[in-house]
């Protein structure tokens, strides 16, 4: 018995584990995507033609408060607010929350919209930093601007929540572009099942490369740069069909902070957005699940496949790294805070499927995959693993993942066909394959780093450098 035999045995066992893991993780994504696709098809069938007109003039369409936090957004804030005010919806208000911007964000909106200080009364129903002032406009009666001390996005949303008048609120990023009827489409679950529905998420798409003028997407095009192109495929795979898949079992854990509609009363009951996490959007949804299941309430968190919110994604590696590490830290934080749900049958599909799934594949996935990239070549060089195993690893890490991404592109084209140009489709197909040759490994590494950062107690947000979606 020697050390060499023991190390060889352990190395081979680990190799076998990684292979099984990669097989499982990619099959998980594929299954989720197929479930999401079937759900999407069904949802799209259920939307009958005059739906939008019906909702637009219906007295039972609930009013919505749009909450748009803004921090140093002077480049686009006026245009973005204007586009929000032009949305098709019977009754809504736009609450722009200036989260202590250090640039001229507040001055610009005050000047552009003729805002005046308002004595709008409110209560700190959920905790937030001090609100320095509220502004309203005689010209735009449904626009409210809140000026508050800087406290981060979650804190800004809480401030907006305190000021919101209406029973539903939609959290959006101030620099996102909504399609004109996006709210009408997103509100459908609340109209159809008002007593059960507590939240609904919508699709986020990548705005980079699109022709956007006056706050409207005039032509959908692919980004010309490589990083945003990869992210388009990633958004299709993970956000479009992945989230749709989870919503099929009422176990959706994430509603993107860039576009989600919530029942205000429920969110206030759970205490609003958590300000001490960087993954406030996921944390809120998990907390809502937990709160309502603890109380045995029947509820539904929906995901609507057709409303569209366009958002700008990072174009540089530096910014993308910050975003991905922040997302991963947010995920770890949420799973840690709500670890009591994991595997707990009391929480139904959320406890038995979604939370363990996120733990096993979203949190541990990058670690296992990254260890594979590092260890397997070493083990192969040391003669512990055969070339067959190295090939099998490559197969599962790259080819199977490319298959999953390609299927995502195919399903998007069947369901929505948002990229009508053949050239764009060709580029997407290419991106679906080559994202697994470098991009995926890079994001895996960043997510591994995030684990280390989380362990060190790093809770920073990082800065998103934007070119401005409306400015191009």
């Amino acid at each position: 018995m020697s050390w060499r035999v023991a190390v060889a045995g352990l190395g081979q066992a680990y190799g076998a584990f990684i292979l099984s893991y990669l097989l499982a993780v990619n099959s998980y994504y594929l299954l989720l995507m197929v479930a999401g696709f079937l759900r999407t098809r069904r949802a799209l069938r259920e939307i009958f033609r005059p739906d939008q007109r019906r909702l637009m003039r219906s007295p039972i369409t609930p009013p919505i408060s749009l909450l748009a936090p803004a921090f140093n957004e002077e480049a686009n804030v006026a245009e973005n607010v204007r586009s929000l005010l032009m949305l098709d919806y019977p009754l809504f208000e736009v609450i722009l929350i200036n989260d202590g911007s250090r640039d001229r964000t507040l001055d610009i909106v005050i000047r552009q919209f003729g805002l005046r200080p308002s004595a709008r009364s409110f209560e700190y129903a959920v905790p937030c930093r001090t609100i320095r002032g509220v502004y309203e406009s005689p010209t735009y009666p449904n626009l409210v601007v809140v000026d508050k001390e800087n406290g981060g996005k979650a804190d800004a949303l809480n401030a907006g929540l305190n000021l919101a008048w209406y029973p539903l609120f939609c959290a959006i990023d101030a620099d996102s572009v909504l399609e004109p009827d996006a709210l009408l489409r997103l509100v459908r679950p609340f109209v159809e099942a008002p007593l059960e529905t507590v939240a609904a998420g919508g699709i986020i798409r990548v705005a980079n490369g699109c022709d956007i003028r006056a706050g409207r997407v005039r032509q959908v095009q692919l980004a010309r740069r490589l990083l945003p192109l990869m992210q388009i495929v990633e958004y299709l795979r993970a956000f479009l069909f992945g989230r749709m898949g989870w919503s099929a079992g009422n176990s959706l854990l994430v509603i993107s902070g860039a576009f989600g509609l919530f029942d205000k009363r429920v969110v206030v009951s759970v205490g609003g957005y958590a300000t001490d996490t960087v993954g406030e959007d996921m944390e809120l949804v998990v907390r809502i699940h937990r709160y309502l299941r603890d109380r045995g309430r029947r509820y539904r968190i929906g995901f609507v496949p057709d409303p569209i919110c366009w958002t700008e994604v990072p174009e540089t590696r530096r910014v993308l790294r910050r975003q991905r590490t922040r997302w991963q830290r947010g995920l770890i934080d949420t799973l840690w805070r709500h670890r009591a749900l994991i595997g707990n049958p009391r929480y139904g599909a959320v406890g038995l499927l979604a939370m363990p799934g996120f733990l096993a594949f979203e949190l541990l996935g990058p670690i296992v995959e990254f260890s594979g990239y590092v260890l397997l070549p070493l083990l192969w060089l040391a003669g512990v693993l055969s070339v067959q195993y190295a090939l099998a690893f490559l197969l599962l890490a790259v080819l199977y993942a490319a298959l999953v991404s390609s299927v995502a592109v195919l399903l998007e084209d069947i369901s929505f066909r948002r990229y009508p140009r053949v050239r764009d489709l060709g580029l997407l197909v290419l991106a679906a394959v080559i994202e697994n040759l470098g991009y995926r490994q890079l994001t895996t590494w960043w997510r591994v780093r995030a684990v280390w950062e989380f362990a060190r107690g790093d809770h920073s947000w990082g800065v998103m450098e934007r070119r401005g979606v409306g400015a191009r």
């Binding site: 035999v5 066992a13 033609r49 709008r120 209406y166 055969s386 099998a392 053949v422």
Partner: protein
């Protein structure tokens, strides 16, 4: 330390009983990883690569097929549109449409889409002409037949199309659709009956306010909110007699939206219902109706234990605008709930001199929440938002 002892330290007891023996015999290599022939590994790589290529090919193929069909449909639509406009033009006589009847399957589908698109926007004489054309070329018959399809999705789509076309000839089939086993079909049929239906058929929608399918009930409520005036006595009777709590709540909402003054007595009797939702909705409906008989009951409801009821009562008082409410509203201005204070202040602003004097006095109130609300309402005036 020997490997076997080291393993015993780090592994659970059950494993240490066997694993060191394997290690000692060097069996791990064979027991844990069966050998994979290189050819098999390569075969799997190529197979999976082939599947990727297959997916990509199917993507391109389906895109090509869809593009071909779309382009052809666009060309045919351009060719057919002038003929359709000719038939639909005002004053056009009902000329024979034999040429349209003789169209092939693809062209009929294009024509159908064209007519359905136009029907969404047409009203009056042109809409009637469109109905006639749709019927004459047999599309109506096809939709009615689809309402009996074994696929629920087809039945729902047929009901939606019939609602868009708004041909009264489809009513009997749509009324049958109200009893469909699938909730999506029932929902769509409800909407379609709302588009096409006469008074008698609208009455059939009222019991659906208590349908087991939530979206069917919501759709019925929505349709009746638009067209319920024609059947308000049926809605009132349903609100009184139904055993379905959900249906009753919806009917009470409708009585408010439709401002059915004949419902005043019924609503007054519901003000003290043990079901809080019924109380909220009754007071809300009463506030919309604004009958002076509600004044005293509204004052009483300002002390309800549910803030939503207090809030609706304050709103009702703003509609009635009686100076007699001022003392009650002054008390409500101190309510613990923001919305109650807000509507109490709004009601005071609506009442006139006495109300405004009360608000002005509230400006000096030592409680910031009272003075703040008074200041806001005085600044904002009567522009009060819709109540959640």
């Amino acid at each position: 330390m020997e490997v076997a002892s080291w393993v015993q330290v780090i592994l659970p007891h059950r494993l240490t009983a066997t694993l060191p023996r394997w290690l000692a015999r060097g069996e791990v290599l064979t027991s844990m990883l069966p050998a994979i022939p290189l050819s098999l590994a390569l075969l799997v790589v190529f197979a999976l690569g082939g599947v990727v290529v297959l997916v990509l090919l199917s993507l391109l193929t389906q895109r090509a097929i869809v593009s071909l069909i779309t382009n052809r449909a666009q060309r045919r639509q351009t060719a057919l549109a002038p003929r359709v406009y000719q038939v639909l033009s005002p004053g056009a006589s009902r000329a024979p449409v034999d040429d349209l009847l003789a169209l092939g399957r693809f062209d009929r589908a294009v024509l159908r889409r064209l007519l359905l698109g136009l029907a969404l926007d047409l009203r009056g004489e042109a809409a009637a002409a469109l109905c006639g054309l749709y019927r004459d070329i047999g599309l109506l018959r096809g939709d009615i037949a689809r309402l009996r399809s074994w696929r629920a999705a087809d039945r729902a789509a047929a009901a939606a199309d019939l609602g868009v076309i708004r041909d009264p000839a489809a009513l009997p089939a749509l009324l049958e659709g109200l009893r469909d086993r699938d909730s999506l079909v029932r929902q769509t049929a409800v909407w379609a009956v709302g588009e096409v239906g006469d008074r008698a058929s609208l009455r059939k929608l009222v019991p659906l306010l208590g349908d087991s399918g939530a979206r069917v009930a919501r759709c019925a409520e929505e349709v009746l909110a638009f067209r319920g005036r024609e059947v308000e006595e049926t809605v009132l009777a349903y609100a009184r007699d139904t055993t379905s709590q959900g249906g009753r709540r919806a009917a009470i909402d409708l009585l408010g939206w439709l401002r059915v003054s004949a419902a005043a007595d019924f609503l007054l009797s519901s003000f003290e219902d043990p079901d809080a939702e019924i109380r909220v909705k009754s007071v809300k409906a009463a506030a919309a109706i604004g009958d002076p008989r509600f004044l005293e009951p509204f004052h009483d409801r300002l002390a309800d234990d549910r803030w939503e009821v207090r809030c609706q009562a304050a709103k009702g008082l703003s509609v009635l605008g009686s100076p007699a409410s001022v003392p009650w509203l002054e008390t409500a201005l101190r309510d613990s709930q923001w919305w109650v204070r807000f509507y109490a202040a709004a009601a005071l602003a609506e009442i006139g001199e006495r109300g405004e004097a009360a608000l002005a006095a509230a400006l000096e109130d030592p409680e910031p929440r009272v003075s703040g609300m008074a200041r806001y309402l005085l600044e904002r005036g009567a522009a009060v938002p819709a109540l959640p």
